[in-house]
């Protein structure tokens, strides 16, 4: 993952260039259409992000909770207005309640050259199970990783054994096997970048996504 990040960044720029390089984005104008865009705090963290709303006349940035814009014409740029929290909840409360629970990520660590969890990680398994129960239709992705001690091939296999060990734990706890996708990335995605043949406990892990 870390080794490949520059690649992703380059691609991001490429996409950005493609998206924004072709001049003003063709906004399919539907005169008479009314569009309301509201920036909300994240339901779980309270974090407020940022959006930029554009039409043919210009663009408006929204970056505070409940800031909004109502676009009714392409002749003026989207006007910003902060709404009352209560009004937003009245309008969007039902659809907010229809959001699936936020996906969660866990990292479990393993003993050296082993598919045995460390004691701390053993305790996290309960949290994983809890988050699985919170999902109406759980998808659980389990990816095994290793440090760079040993060959790539043996590390791929070790990563797979780690992923399968976690898979077995989850199935034993009652999760359906069909909900779990277990795989190995071996030593290819180091959490802590190291050179080859380096003993690094933080790289000996299984990453779990529950969504």
């Amino acid at each position: 993952m870390i080794g490949r990040r520059p690649h992703a960044v380059v691609a991001a720029f490429a996409v950005a260039a493609l998206t924004y390089g072709c001049g003003p984005k063709s906004v399919r104008t539907d005169p008479g259409a009314q569009v309301l865009v509201v920036l909300l705090p994240d339901q779980d963290t309270g974090n407020v992000g940022k959006v930029v709303v554009s039409n043919a006349a210009g663009q408006t940035e929204l970056s505070t909770a409940y800031s909004s814009t109502r676009v009714t014409t392409s002749r003026v740029k989207p006007p910003a207005k902060t709404l009352k929290e209560d009004d937003v909840k009245k309008r969007f409360g039902e659809v907010l309640a229809t959001l699936p629970p936020a996906p969660l990520h866990f990292t479990l660590y393993f003993r050296f050259d082993s598919e045995e969890l460390t004691d701390e990680s053993r305790k996290i398994v309960q949290d994983v199970l809890q988050s699985v129960k919170a999902q109406p239709v759980p998808d659980v992705i389990v990816i095994g990783h290793t440090d760079t001690t040993g060959s790539q091939t043996s590390n791929f296999e070790l990563g797979m054994r780690r992923a399968n060990a976690v898979r077995t734990l989850l199935i034993d706890a009652g999760l359906s096997a069909s909900a779990i996708d277990a795989r190995s990335h071996g030593e290819l995605e180091l959490l802590v970048p190291t050179s080859n043949d380096v003993f690094e406990p933080k790289n000996r892990r299984v990453e779990i996504t529950v969504r």
Binding site: A11, K25, D30, A33, V53, T69, R91, E94, V95, A102
Partner: protein
């Protein structure tokens, strides 16, 4: 003999072109899954609208549609979440998520009704590749939660 063999080769080539290409197209990677649904809800795929069910896969180019009493919640593979209120329509125009190859992008088209978008990993890795389109404006996203209401003409 040679001509016959030549013809066979051509026929095999032509047939395999038509057979393998649709076969590949039939197994696209799902962009996400329907996690919550109530009332009348539909997925429109290739012009055909079918009732949607919880657990069903959502693919790139699918349109999600709800009836007057319908509600729908979807989680995409990069952790993006989208929910639709009653009388709504949202199309997943583009979904690219292969971080190891740097292939990232999301275009959602809010056609009508009421919907909420919560950003996922694509917004963290390639925020400029995300576009929420509506009939009157385009929304670029730097993260988290955005509510949209579209009343078409």
């Amino acid at each position: 003999m040679t001509t016959r063999r030549g013809w066979v080769a051509i026929i095999v080539a032509v047939v395999s072109t038509f057979v393998t290409v649709p076969a590949l197209a039939q197994t696209p990677v799902a962009a996400g899954r329907i996690k919550l649904a109530s009332g009348q809800v539909f997925v429109v795929r290739g012009g055909t609208s079918t009732p949607a069910e919880v657990g069903q896969a959502v693919l790139q180019s699918d349109t999600l549609r709800t009836g007057a009493d319908g509600r729908l919640g979807v989680t995409l593979r990069d952790d993006t979440r989208v929910s639709l209120g009653p009388g709504s329509e949202v199309r997943l125009d583009s979904f690219l998520y292969t971080p190891s190859e740097g292939s990232l992008g999301l275009v959602l088209n809010f056609v009508r009704g009421i919907a909420v978008y919560v950003s996922g990993k694509i917004a963290k890795l390639a925020p400029d590749s995300i576009r929420l389109e509506t009939p009157g404006a385009i929304v670029g996203v730097r993260g988290t939660t955005v509510a949209v209401q579209v009343v078409p003409r």
